[in-house]
Subunit: 133 residues, 2 copies
DNA sequence: TATTATACTATTAAATTAGTAGGAATTGCA
DNA sequence: TGCAATTCCTACTAATTTAATAGTATAATA
């Protein structure tokens, strides 16, 4: 029941960019050094954030990354889903999850409730909430 | 961010016992068959529930398991923690987790809030809530 | 054109998960 | 008394996932 490094690092990166960029491009290396995360591994995580359209990038010398929007326009749940995959605590609740016994499964509603509690929380916070806390 | 089979099966077992035992001992084999779970694997999970003091057992022929208390006296969070280990979504929040940077880590409070939401939910439900839903 | 970046893809070591396997101890019943 | 059914206990293992590492191609700037 742990969030993987993908989700954790992704959020850390977004917070780092929100706090340190000031509109400038920041290199991956700078972020990795500052946050003490493996350079090459972070590259893959940033790639996911990039594919999700959350970043603007500049290649080449003096290049790097910056946020594509204002911090208050990022919902933390979205950042996590883009990197962790869906956040549902059990497979039955997945879109593709075929829970055959759903009807007479007494645990199903409990798990659904847990899922709701998680989604509700992560979707109630924006990046801005985090950096101003 | 998934609950493992340990926690899921454990809860399934407890619900099964609550619904099918009526004060009688039920064999592991019956539960495993009814819930379509591997006999031998379930054995290990029931052992954890047993060690936590949640079950009464009868060995030998005609033996089996039954709940040690009434369904309303089991908090679902406790059942999950006994089998899954602690439910905190990241290691920083663990008892032993030494989060050195906690003070100036902007994500820490967010994760703590997620943990709170999860614990609050799982500790608000008893076994009785599940079987009567 | 050398340097400093991102972009992309493949490989791998370690850990975890989900189960298998086998046998010892205990009890009820014929 | 002995057999069958059951819990109890420990060791092993296959598959999957996680967290990286590695290498190369592409791009931009001074």
């Amino acid at each position: 029941m742990k969030v993987s490094t993908k989700g954790r690092y992704a959020l850390t990166v977004m917070v780092d960019l929100a706090m340190n960029s000031n509109g400038n491009f920041i290199s991956l290396k700078d972020i990795a050094t500052r946050q003490e995360i493996s350079n090459k591994y972070l590259e893959q995580i940033i790639a996911m954030l990039n594919k999700a359209g959350y970043l603007e990038t500049a290649r080449g010398n003096m290049g790097g990354y910056r946020l594509a929007r204002k911090p208050e326009e990022y919902i933390v749940g979205d950042i996590l889903r883009a990197t962790e995959g869906d956040l549902t605590p059990i497979y039955c609740l997945t879109e593709n999850g075929e829970c055959v016994k759903k009807e007479n499964c007494k645990t199903h509603d409990f798990w659904k409730g847990l899922d709701d509690a998680i989604e509700k929380y992560v979707d109630s916070k924006t990046l801005k909430d985090l950096i101003s806390e």
